[in-house]
């Protein structure tokens, strides 16, 4: 399969923000080992937007958990800024598939959670968050409880919480997975604008090929479980990206290529299903 070597935008010698080398993860299910990730090599450079796409159950969320520091891999190395990273937990932003807003906190108080946990006073943290409400489409709902918000608003509130925590790398696990198509398209454009003005490194898991191509600098395609890197694709579209690009010839060609790669994986039974 085609594999473009990763480029390093913004610096010749800058070491990647995140670098995985031969990461493996095996879970024990009823005493039997279940290999979920096998030898993952992956890099995310400063200011880069990278997507991770693959069949469901291939270990994408597991990989993000490992990078965030919630789990340790059974094998392999993880470096941040070129150094082996032991205490990653708390240093890397992670937005889970679910919005995980605390139902007893208002939108504003949910947003400031990360600042508060780092010891900032709630009033100072609130002041900082209030300035961003407009940009996150939450103006007027600062005092609302999450249960009263729509899915898109909840997701943006979770986004704001992640962004305010101001970590240098942000992991996103299917951030738009639970949204309807229209809200989803709006949110993609919004995130694109946000990220372009922002310059943080992002690693996003998605199952939407179009979304991955539209947003990313590079795209990793994983195999079915146990997940391995099947293809790395550099998305050669100029920035700023616009939604109209999805009809461009280059876009359509890349999309067909990624879908064909995923198809091969989809038709192949996963290891455990094969045994069953």
């Amino acid at each position: 399969m085609t594999s473009t070597p990763p480029h390093a935008p913004g610096g010749i010698a800058s070491s990647p923000k995140i670098e995985l080398e031969g990461v493996c993860q095996t879970f024990l299910i009823n005493g039997k080992p279940l290999p979920v990730l096998q030898g993952i090599d992956l890099r995310v450079y400063r200011g880069e937007f990278v997507s991770l796409i693959g069949p469901s159950g291939c270990g994408k969320s597991t990989l993000l958990n490992i990078i965030a520091g919630l789990e340790e891999p059974t094998q392999g190395l993880i470096r941040t800024d070129g150094r082996q990273a032991h205490g990653r937990l708390g240093a890397i932003g992670y937005m889970h598939q679910k919005d995980l807003l605390l139902p007893w906190r208002t939108v504003l108080d949910n947003a400031v959670l990360g600042l508060e946990l780092r010891g900032m006073s709630r009033s100072q943290a609130r002041r900082q968050a209030l300035g961003l409400m407009e940009q996150f489409g939450l103006k007027g709902f600062e005092g609302s409880y999450p249960s009263l918000l729509s899915g898109g608003m909840r997701q943006r509130a979770a986004f704001l919480r992640t962004v305010l925590a101001d970590q240098e790398v942000i992991l996103l696990d299917e951030p738009f997975g639970a949204l309807d198509a229209l809200t989803r398209a709006n949110m993609q454009e919004w995130l694109l604008g946000l990220w372009e003005s922002w310059g943080k490194a992002v690693l996003m898991v998605t199952h939407d090929v179009e979304e991955a191509l539209l947003l990313s600098d590079r795209l990793y395609v994983l195999t079915a479980r146990p997940g391995r890197v099947k293809m790395v694709l550099s998305v050669e579209l100029k920035r700023p990206r616009r939604y109209e690009m999805v009809t461009s010839e280059a876009f359509v060609r890349m999309k067909a290529q990624v879908i064909a790669t995923l198809r091969e994986e989809g038709s192949r039974p996963t290891q455990s299903e094969g045994q069953a």
Partner: protein, 277 residues
């Protein structure tokens, strides 16, 4: 870009969901009045002896005529209830936290917590009397014993049922273990704590009365015990009436505190009742 919140229809739909005061208290009020009228009518019609079953009117008269006596005993009982309940709350929350955080404490303490409920309280009340002596404390202890159980059990459930993903989320934001407790687990368990407290407050009144039956020189339970052999049946009924009012009032206070402490919970319950998102 902005979407409307799911149920942002505003005041109109909101007031429809809150039953009005009349709607809430009307039906039980009517039933109560009808029952009292039937009681009064039956007693008069069949010439039931006063000492056997007094009519509501004479219970009402007794409430008024003996008001200073009743009030004095009411304060005694209320003091036992409040003191016992407060102690049960402190002990219950502390014990629940220890149980939720330590396997060892859970294994060691939980069997006793459950065993404490299988021991008939009426049977150990005389022992408390022997051990602690007369005065307020044996009654307070009975109240604690009877009401700490629902608090502990519900609080433990609450602390344990926190979504593990929420804890992970807080950890990726840099939360320490103590912060995980204060910012996530403790607030998440508050609704559970309140369900325990609702049960506990009602049981507290029962506990105080049982304590007074076993040995007391004051309180509504004591007054009932003393009045029954003298066939002051309307005084017994007056005491029962006051105890019921006390129980209902304390329960209502808990519900008010709940609404005040967890405005979000009311909304969430309503959203769920409406079929969720």
């Amino acid at each position: 870009m902005r979407e409307e919140p799911v149920h942002g229809a505003g005041a109109a739909s909101r007031s429809r969901r809150y039953p009005s005061l009349v709607g809430q208290w009307g039906p039980p009020g009517v039933i109560l009045l009808l029952a009292l009228a039937a009681w009064e009518g039956a007693v008069r019609l069949f010439h039931v002896q006063r000492w056997l079953l007094p009519p509501p009117s004479s219970i009402g008269a007794e409430l008024w005529e003996s008001r200073s006596l009743l009030l004095r005993h009411t304060w005694v009982t209320l003091e036992e209830v409040l003191l016992g309940f407060a102690l049960a709350l402190v002990v219950g929350v502390a014990l629940a936290t220890a149980i939720a955080y330590s396997r060892i404490v859970e294994r060691a303490a939980y069997p006793f917590v459950i065993a404490s409920q299988t021991v008939p309280i009426v049977a150990i009340a005389p022992l408390l009397l022997i051990w602690i002596g007369y005065g307020i404390w044996p009654k307070v202890m009975v109240v604690v014993l009877i009401s700490f159980f629902p608090i502990v059990v519900n609080m433990v459930d609450g602390l344990k049922s926190v979504d593990p993903d929420m804890l992970s989320m807080a950890r990726t934001l840099g939360a320490s273990r103590w912060q995980l407790f204060t910012k996530v687990q403790a607030p998440a368990s508050v609704p559970f704590l309140f369900s325990g407290v609702r049960v506990a407050i009602a049981m507290s009144v029962i506990g105080a009365v049982i304590g007074e039956w076993v040995g007391a020189s004051a309180g509504l339970g004591y007054l009932m015990m003393r009045s029954a052999p003298q066939f002051l049946t309307d005084r017994v009924f007056a005491s029962i009436f006051i105890l019921s009012i006390m129980g209902i009032a304390l329960f209502a206070l808990v519900v008010l505190a709940e609404r005040y402490a967890m405005p979000w919970y009311q909304w969430e319950k309503r959203e769920k009742a409406l079929g969720g998102r």
